[in-house]
């Protein structure tokens, strides 16, 4: 039986962002399709439209010539579209069997038989009567897959399925997916991992900034060509001027490890690097490969071994962010609204979050509001924040102005090292340029930057040295002149 799924001219607009811009795609059963793209490229939106979670503004979806009306996830189920999300939707304390039958009205005995048949057929071995919390991530995923298979789906969509799997579980998954495909289930595989696309898929559709960039056969592609399509062709090398090479080491990280108890966090493995004065080290990578953990370890939100971080001849691995600031470090986290600033508080209160002893914001435990306000005014004028009211709640600042305020707050103490994580994420071009100029200026003043970013262009533009983080491991550190975005793309996808 042949299944044909067609997406025709689908558009979905969010305020300030076109998530899907007139996307048309066609899928046929018997093949495994990859939907490839960076974070924010629009893959997830498209998948959510297919599974009925989001209703598109325009466009139609056809299954075998019938128009599908997908107004809710249950509509998708009714139309034989199965979906396995990146984060599992299972009840941890219920048994596997209970999880499987929870949304089915069939008889329990029939279902058990059916499930047993499915498990035998695909060589799954899971005890149906243990609670789900005792299962490994790979087994939980199998439960999700079985839940789809019970309904004998025509289409199976897998959203970043390998992000929580081990290597071995990944190859097991691939075997099963190939088997499903042979049996006529149409498989759509969403990922940003190039290696997996090359291993598993027959055809690949690449998305970038909401648009469909290309559709092609895997046999006509290689990792470089895909990386290029994914990241974009604009490889203009606007490089900052490089004058003197200071060789004085400012920060030195040795054998830094971090093991998380949270399965959705990435462990950091044996991180080693150093940054000289006046230098910018860029750390590239696809998001979710340990950047957030690395930032937190560097900022002191996660405390590590004292000797693993040496800054300016002091060992500071066991200090918290506030203590590290006293050694002239500054931090600009990725999440502007939930971490770097508090939208419900006034601008001047947000300035006080960077509490530097010598700025005297708090004397003897009391708030020195005049001092904070004076300081805030200086930041606003020095860093071009587009307001003159420091009592304004910071939620009324645009993303760009808020980021300027944050960077200004961090820089006004003239730190020796600024660590920033996706500083221009979601900003408009003007603000991006301003932030970039500011960062270049810092380097010119012989101060250093560690720039963790998922934006390859930004990294190539600003960095002196670049390393790539993949699954919590850093690649070797390369001189930025020798690096191209293709090379970064390959390293980001886990290649060599």
């Amino acid at each position: 039986m042949n299944t044909k799924l067609k997406i025709s001219n689908v558009t979905k607009i969010y305020p300030g962002c076109v998530a899907n811009n007139n996307v048309s795609l066609e899928f046929n059963s018997g093949k495994i399709y990859a939907l490839l793209g960076e974070n924010g490229a629009g893959k997830s939106t498209l998948v959510k439209i297919l599974s009925g979670v989001i209703i598109p503004d325009e466009g139609k979806i056809y299954l075998n010539k019938n128009i599908l009306k997908l107004n809710s996830p249950s509509d998708a189920k009714k139309n034989d579209i199965g979906m396995v999300f990146q984060h599992f939707n299972l009840f941890e304390t219920l048994s596997v069997f209970e999880n499987l039958i929870i949304d089915s009205d069939e008889q329990r005995e029939n279902l058990r038989e059916k499930i047993d048949t499915i498990m035998k057929k695909y060589n799954f071995s899971i005890d149906l009567d243990v609670p789900v919390l005792n299962l490994s991530a790979g087994q939980k995923q199998k439960v999700e897959i079985i839940r789809c298979l019970i309904r004998s789906p025509k289409v199976l969509i897998m959203d970043e399925p390998t992000s929580v799997l081990t290597e071995q579980e990944t190859s097991e998954l691939f075997l099963s997916l190939k088997k499903f495909s042979e049996e006529g289930i149409l498989i759509i595989y969403i990922t940003h991992k190039l290696k997996e696309v090359m291993q598993l898929c027959d055809e690949v559709a690449v998305m970038r900034r909401g648009k469909l960039v290309s559709v092609s056969q895997i046999k006509n592609e290689n990792m470089e060509s895909l990386a290029n399509k994914m990241v974009g062709q604009n490889l203009k090398t606007i490089k900052k001027k490089k004058e003197n090479n200071s060789s004085e080491q400012l920060i030195n990280i040795t054998n830094l490890n971090f093991t998380s108890e949270d399965p959705f966090e990435t462990n950091l493995v044996d991180i080693n690097f150093s940054v000289n004065r006046g230098e910018c080290l860029g750390i590239a990578g696809i998001s979710g490969n340990g950047q957030s953990e690395l930032f937190q370890v560097l900022s002191g939100e996660i405390i590590s071994n004292k000797n693993s971080i040496k800054f300016n001849k002091n060992y500071i691995g066991d200090l918290n962010p506030q203590e590290r600031r006293e050694y002239l470090m500054a931090f600009s986290p990725e999440d502007r609204l939930e971490q770097a600033a508090i939208p419900q508080m006034a601008i001047f209160e947000n300035v006080a979050l960077n509490n530097f002893k010598s700025s005297n914001f708090f004397n003897n435990g009391l708030i020195n509001e005049n001092k904070i306000k004076e300081h805030s005014k200086k930041i606003i004028s020095d860093f071009n924040v587009n307001t003159d009211n420091i009592n304004l709640k910071s939620q009324f600042l645009s993303g760009g102005n808020l980021q300027k305020l944050i960077i200004g707050r961090e820089l006004i103490t003239s730190p020796d090292l600024l660590i920033c994580f996706n500083p221009t994420w979601g900003l408009d071009v003007g603000a991006i340029n301003y932030i970039h100029e500011t960062l270049i200026k810092i380097n010119e003043q012989n101060k250093s930057i560690i720039l963790i970013s998922t934006d390859t262009d930004e990294l190539l533009k600003l960095s002196d040295k670049i390393s790539v983080i993949h699954k919590g491991k850093l690649s070797k550190i390369m001189n930025a002149e020798e690096v191209t975005s293709e090379k970064l793309g390959i390293l980001m996808g886990g290649g060599n």
């Binding site: 419900q344 508080m345 435990g365």
Partner: protein, 354 residues
């Protein structure tokens, strides 16, 4: 047509308007309940809310009930503002009462100006010790403070029960479950002859002033505010989260303990089984009705205190069980939570033209 739209920003006015709205809706719903029960709604509400405080004695009783509510709610606001959910103030009150009562019993046959301060201090320390249990378990063992603090309430009540029936019961008390009367030196002085209102109200006032100062003028207050909005930000700013959790629990416990002292050294004068008519739980409602603001809490404690008095009057004059008071407290909280919807959404009236 009416459409519900998200507000850009909750306005200050609506922030303080919703508690008033909640009280208003409570009155309407209360009137309705009385009507269903076969009473005249206006008359019943008058018995409930106006008669009890119509005279000097009634007003003194109002302040007497509002004092512990205000004191505990102020302490709780330290916890709630910083994202710590201490709902065991009743237990901290009880344990504060046990410790201060124990100290007062040591001095039962002595007089001296030094006794009262020691008794008061003992109560505060008792409350702090009891509040430190959920705080320490939360910071070092990651337990849920809601469950721990709540369960400890029942532990403290059983300890009190054991003490007043067993070791501390009055040897001349014919086996009544109560201790000896405290000596006069261990009692909070009455403010007016013939009225029950006592010096504990000054403790509540002091707590209001101090908490206002801490919330709005100190580094600690600032850190609490930041942690209340976002724990992630607090961590990023480098605040010592564990220290702060323990500190706000200690403050909250001390306030509840003091409220316990006020009860046993004020109107009661001894320890017995029922040192508090659930002031510790009701104060949670007071704290939120007062928007965790010290001045708001004063008003809220007065409003909620009326429900205690009104329930008693209603029981006497209308033969309604006094638990009606709790119904009213529940309704206030219910309507407050419901009208908080207005903080984030507004109704928009749209004409039918298109």
């Amino acid at each position: 047509m009416i459409k519900i739209v998200k507000r850009d920003q909750p306005s200050k006015a609506i922030f303080f308007f919703t508690p008033v709205l909640a009280i208003f809706l409570t009155l309407i719903a209360g009137g309705l309940i009385f009507y269903i029960l076969g009473f005249k709604p206006f008359e019943a509400l008058k018995f409930f809310f106006i008669v009890p405080i119509a005279d000097k004695y009634g007003f003194s009783e109002l302040l007497l009930k509002a004092t512990p509510l205000c004191l505990i709610a102020i302490g709780l606001s330290f916890c709630f503002k910083s994202n710590n959910w201490n709902i065991g103030a009743e237990g901290q009150l009880t344990f504060g009462a046990i410790v201060s009562g124990g100290v007062a019993l040591l001095f039962y046959d002595q007089e001296g100006f030094y006794i009262l301060p020691i008794v008061i201090l003992a109560g505060a320390i008792g409350g702090m010790i009891y509040a430190s249990i959920p705080a320490i378990l939360k910071t070092y063992f990651n337990t849920n403070e809601i469950l721990v603090s709540l369960m400890l309430v029942y532990v403290s009540k059983l300890i009190l029960d054991y003490l007043v029936v067993g070791p501390w019961s009055n040897p001349e008390g014919f086996n009544f479950p109560e201790t000896r009367q405290f000596s006069d030196s261990a009692r909070l002085p009455l403010l007016f002859e013939g009225l029950r209102i006592h010096a504990g109200i000054f403790l509540a006032f002091a707590a209001v002033v101090i908490s206002w100062f801490v919330f709005y003028k100190t580094y600690l207050g600032f850190q609490m505010k930041v942690s209340g909005f976002s724990l992630k930000t607090a961590k990023y700013a480098g605040y010592k989260g564990k220290k702060m959790i323990i500190l706000v629990f200690l403050i909250s416990g001390a306030c509840a303990g003091l409220a316990g002292v006020g009860e046993i050294t004020g109107p009661i004068g001894q320890l017995h089984r029922e040192v508090s008519p659930d002031y510790g739980f009701t104060a949670i409602i007071v704290a939120f009705l007062g928007r965790l603001h010290p001045v708001g809490i004063i008003f809220a404690s007065l409003v909620v205190a009326i429900t205690y008095l009104g329930a008693e009057t209603a029981q006497i004059f209308m033969q309604i069980p006094k638990y009606t008071g709790q119904v009213f407290q529940g309704m206030i909280l219910f309507f407050l939570l419901a009208s908080d919807y207005l903080l984030f959404f507004k109704f928009k009236f749209i004409g039918s033209k298109k």
